[in-house]
């Protein structure tokens, strides 16, 4: 498995790219509540997704939950921009494994052409699920937590999105740039990979 600085997980043998917590339409949800946030996050996020797809040449894209931030955020404009992006990847299989935010959206726009699953997806030795709960006999790749890692030493301090690999469960960083996060609580034997700009560094 490869951990990419685009906040994505690559499984080369299966041609699979997995990302979690995209929160599409979050900016628009804010706008609808009278909060004047500028748009731009979605376009940047989609561009980063395309970069990851191009470099990995993945055939399948797994969206590990929290694809859509809220129902109000799913505006015509958001649907259209995602549709345009989707049309640029006609041969890509896209699977949504639903997360807690997705429950607000009964059905995805058909033009997005995505397989819509309510439950986890088991593939080879892995399970892909939104909530990071261990499963017997499988290593689970999940999202939900938006893991962040704090680095500090002497004079310097940083807080970065990260991959958090625990026994039996790997938590992906939130894909959307417009998300807060939780600091990881490092258990014994855990491995943490921070995203430092264009590199992924184990810390």
């Amino acid at each position: 498995m490869e951990l990419l600085p685009e906040r994505a997980l690559h499984w080369p043998e299966a041609g699979v790219l997995a990302v979690a917590d995209l929160h599409w339409g979050k900016t628009e949800s804010f706008q609808q509540h009278g909060i004047p946030l500028p748009v731009g996050v979605l376009d940047d996020d989609l561009e980063r997704l395309s970069t990851a797809l191009t470099t990995t040449r993945a055939r399948r894209l797994l969206l590990v939950g929290d694809l859509v931030h809220s129902r109000q955020g799913l505006t015509g404009d958001v649907i259209q921009r995602v549709t345009t992006w989707r049309r640029a990847w006609p041969h890509l299989d896209v699977v949504l494994i639903r997360g807690n935010h997705d429950r607000h959206v009964p059905a995805l726009p058909p033009a997005w052409n995505m397989e819509d699953r309510a439950d986890a997806l088991d593939e080879g030795p892995f399970r892909f699920a939104h909530h990071p709960e261990p499963a017997a006999g499988r290593f689970v790749w999940a999202g939900h937590l938006h893991p962040m890692v704090r680095l500090e030493g002497g004079a310097d301090r940083l807080r970065l999105p990260c991959f958090h690999l625990r026994t039996g469960v790997g938590v992906l960083p939130a894909f959307s740039a417009f998300t807060g996060g939780l600091n990881v609580r490092r258990g014994r034997g855990d491995r943490v990979f921070a995203i430092a700009g264009t590199a992924v560094v184990e810390v």
Partner: protein, 852 residues
């Protein structure tokens, strides 16, 4: 009784007879009216009030006569006399006579107070003279504490005299029928104007007053203020640009007696920290329950700890001792205030929550625990004691660490010289204007030109340009000048030239959001059994685990669960392990106190140890002199030092933490231009630390050119972009401008999906709308307030002109020590993220390789 008036529900609310016991607060709203006794006094309303005044045994002071006459002439202005001299009646009796004379319905006198906690006292004071009159008048409060049934009634009919806070006033202005409600207004009294003046709350009041002057063009506005260095400015700000204020003042200065409780053993006295527990036994010895005493602390958690400590040391005082701070539930606060007044409580540990208020009568002594921070504030607190005209105010300083002894010597000196600080109003903050525009749009709507001219009558906005007004209007309409970027946003909409809010949900959210007081989302604290305890910040609760114990309102509590913005607790069996921390701004050392501190240190440097406090702190000052130098008033002391943590530079301008924050970021930026580096910054009221993991030639770098004021604004802006400061400032701006929804109790859950930290919003703006005017404002505010730009420029001027006294020390000096242990937040870097991560990793691997 006047034949035209009809008896009404809640009239005077059963309180006009002074011999009657006040009803308990809970049942007041339901209390039946007491039968109205005719006035014992003859004559016109003003004559009746004068007779009542005389019957109280009072003779009007000249300033009171002057204020009544000025009101009668239709003037507006500022009444400035020391606390306890009778300001309230100086301002109130004129309007009261006026209203009684006219005998009309509807709101006629508005009494604005900054603290809702004191509205009860004000209400008492304003009700009392009513018994001198023959007219039925209603005096009521409307604050955040007012019950919803009373509010509902007030929505239909306002009393003739209304006591309210700036926030509740804005809510009234946001009502659809605001123009009619305020049309009959005769007088506005703004109490404790010095408290509001220099804050966004003050600006909010200025805008509200501008609106009220429009609704009631003849309204007279009188502000009440304690001593200030800039009284003329304070007066101009309250009356607005279209009037000339009348200044009424009285030379009733009360003598102030300041004493410092000097620790016996300074060797064992801490070098830093703020709790001051080593002094607890001495304070307990000094206290005397026969002398009623207020113990002021600088933070709420410190108040909790001192209360607990005193209870532990003096269990026999249990029933005489109480705790008062702004997060404690209202009923408990009222109980404490009542206990102070009737003398049943003798010792009250409190925070700024008791800085203001009408009268605590019997308070004899005041203790200030920790740094007094400012001279005006200290005088105000001292003025709480012996609250009688002419009586000597007494205040006892209790230092919490060794260097505060020097601060207290300096404060005594500055008090003797009466060096009170100016309080400078803000200059046209656009976030407050944005909020006000939405408020006006809700309150009946507005037209562009009329509102622009109205806003400009507020002194703080006198120089508002058309461009700035249009930007702000665009912000609340389209979200910003780049319309495309905000397709779904609409708050204020224009219809035939009139701007209104039409979306009921947005209207509700705005009402929840009104105000400019920055605080974290607050969470109700309740017992499982149902009793309310007060509020704590959400960020504190979110770190608690079930079973954690903490101290609140003097009680040991065990946290059970957090649900629907309420934290449920039960009494703890075990000892409490922690105290909640509340955010809120930590006051910096004031200009007056800072310069007094430099003077005092200069004297100590010359060997002058005549002051008790300096003599007591001498072992520490002597250690400072031996390891390094005592900072003088001429040059600025700089120390460099190499420790395990890295390479330190310490600088001691003694200009207060805000200036130091700005200066540290500025110097860090200018230093990184000389050599690539990452600095972490740490500041306190005395100085700053710049720490870098790699060697840095500090001594060569600290040339006068480093302190140049050239490109000051550009450099600060650049350093602000690099650091956390603007991001932090943005939190408040985002709140005021309505970008962040506070998790208020009662807010529907739907707002949960639009919760995002202001820091995250800031990042989104910087990236996708870098010209957004709120970002500009964040930067401007960082410049003006956070760094006190003017003060910072003067500091740079001083540093550039006078040589830096550079000393290399082998270990952090006594002055450096607090900076080292209180290392914080911000960092300034021009290295790449990856470099920094790799270097951090390297450090750890070295640490791992080190033998145990």
């Amino acid at each position: 009784m006047s034949p035209t008036s009809r008896p009404r529900r809640n009239r005077m609310r059963g309180k006009q007879a002074p011999e009657k016991e006040p009803a308990p607060p809970k049942s007041r709203a339901k209390k039946r009216p007491a039968p109205r006794a005719p006035s014992p006094f003859q004559g016109s309303p003003m004559e009746q009030l004068r007779r009542w005044f005389a019957a109280k045994g009072w003779t009007p002071y000249a300033f009171q006569e002057e204020a009544w006459a000025a009101y009668a002439r239709g003037e507006s202005g500022l009444i400035h006399v020391p606390t306890g001299a009778g300001k309230t009646y100086a301002a109130y009796l004129g309007p009261l006579a006026d209203v009684a004379e006219r005998n009309q319905k509807g709101l006629q006198v508005l009494y604005l107070t900054p603290l809702r906690a004191v509205s009860r006292d004000v209400e008492q004071a304003l009700l009392e003279p009513l018994l001198a009159l023959d007219t039925d008048l209603e005096v009521e409060s409307r604050t955040g504490d007012t019950s919803s049934s009373v509010r509902q009634r007030q929505r239909e009919r306002l009393p003739q005299v209304l006591i309210t806070t700036p926030e509740s006033l804005s809510l009234l202005i946001a009502q659809e029928q605001a123009a009619e409600n305020f049309a009959a207004l005769r007088a506005i009294i703004v109490d404790e104007w010095h408290e509001l003046l220099a804050s966004k709350r003050g600006t909010q009041v200025e805008l509200a007053l501008a609106r009220l002057r429009r609704f009631a063009p003849d309204v007279r506005i009188w502000a009440l203020s304690a001593t200030l260095a800039n009284l003329d400015e304070a007066a101009r700000t309250v009356v607005g640009t279209e009037r000339t204020p009348t200044l009424v003042s009285a030379d009733l200065q009360r003598p102030v007696d300041v004493e410092t409780l000097v620790p016996e053993q300074v060797d064992t006295f801490p070098w830093s920290g703020h709790l001051g527990f080593t002094m607890l036994p001495r304070v307990a010895d000094w206290l005397d329950p026969t002398q009623s005493t207020l113990l002021f602390t600088n933070t709420r958690s410190q108040a909790e700890r001192w209360f607990e400590g005193l209870r532990y040391l003096r269990p026999e005082w249990e029933h005489l001792l109480a705790l008062h701070h702004g997060s404690i539930d209202r009923e408990e606060r009222e109980r404490v205030e009542g206990g102070l007044k009737d003398g049943s409580l003798r010792l009250v540990v409190c925070t700024s929550s008791l800085d203001l208020g009408v009268d605590f009568g019997p308070v004899e002594r005041v203790i200030q625990i920790g740094s007094p921070k400012g001279i005006g504030r200290t005088l105000q607190r001292a003025g709480r004691s012996a609250h009688r005209p002419g009586a000597t105010c007494r205040i006892l300083f209790v230092p919490t660490h060794a260097l505060e002894l020097v601060e207290m010597a300096a404060a005594r000196d500055a008090i003797a010289r009466r060096e009170v600080e100016p309080r400078v109003p803000l200059s046209k903050p656009l976030d407050v204007l944005a909020q006000h525009l939405v408020t006006c749009a809700l309150g009946g709507g507005f037209t562009r030109e009329a509102l622009r001219e109205e806003v400009r009558t507020a002194t703080s906005y006198a120089t508002l340009t058309d461009e700035e007004f249009e930007w702000t209007l665009a912000l609340v309409r389209e979200g910003g000048p780049t319309l495309r970027a905000y397709p779904e946003f609409r708050r204020v909409v224009e219809h035939e030239g009139r701007f209104r809010v039409t979306d009921a949900r947005l209207a509700r959210l705005h009402r929840l959001n009104i105000g400019t007081i920055s605080s974290d989302a607050s969470v109700q604290l309740r017992y499982w059994s149902g009793g309310k305890l007060g509020t704590v910040e959400e960020s504190y609760v979110s770190r608690l685990k079930p079973g954690d114990t903490f101290l609140f309102a003097g009680r040991r509590l065990e946290f059970s669960r957090f649900k629907d913005m309420t934290a449920y607790v039960k009494p703890a069996k075990a000892k409490a392990t922690q105290t909640p921390r509340w955010g809120g701004s930590r006051l910096p050392l004031s200009t007056s106190l800072a310069s007094a501190m430099r003077r005092t240190l200069e004297a100590a440097r010359q060997g002058d140890v005549t002051r008790d406090e300096v003599a007591a702190a001498w072992p520490i000052l002597d250690a400072q002199a031996r390891l390094s130098r005592i900072p003088g008033d001429g040059g600025c002391l700089a120390e460099s030092c190499h420790t395990r943590d890295g390479y330190h530079l310490f600088l001691y301008p003694f200009e207060g933490r805000l200036v130091h924050e700005g200066l540290a970021a500025l110097l860090a930026l200018r230093l990184t231009r000389l050599q690539k580096a990452t600095f972490s910054l740490s500041v306190n009221d005395y100085g700053m630390e710049l720490l870098t993991p790699t060697p840095f030639p500090f001594e060569e770098a600290l040339r006068p050119a480093l302190f140049t004021r050239e490109r000051l604004v550009e450099d600060i802006l650049e350093s602000v972009n690099l650091s956390e400061l603007a991001r932090r400032q943005f939190r408040d701006i985002a709140r005021v401008a309505g970008l962040v929804m506070p998790g208020l109790p009662g807010a529907r859950k739907s707002t949960r999906q639009v919760q995002a930290s202001a820091a995250l919003l800031y990042d989104v703006f910087v990236k996708y709308d870098p010209d957004n005017l709120l970002l500009r404002q964040a930067r401007r505010e960082v410049l003006e307030q956070q760094f006190e730009q003017g003060r910072l420029a003067r500091t740079l001027e001083r540093l550039e002109a006078s040589p830096v006294e550079f000393v290399h020390v082998h270990r952090p000096s006594p002055l450096a020590f607090p900076l080292v242990i209180e290392r914080i937040s911000a960092s300034v870097s021009n290295e790449s993220l990856l470099d920094r991560v790799e270097r951090l990793k390297e450090r750890w691997s070295q640490a791992d390789a080190r033998p145990a």
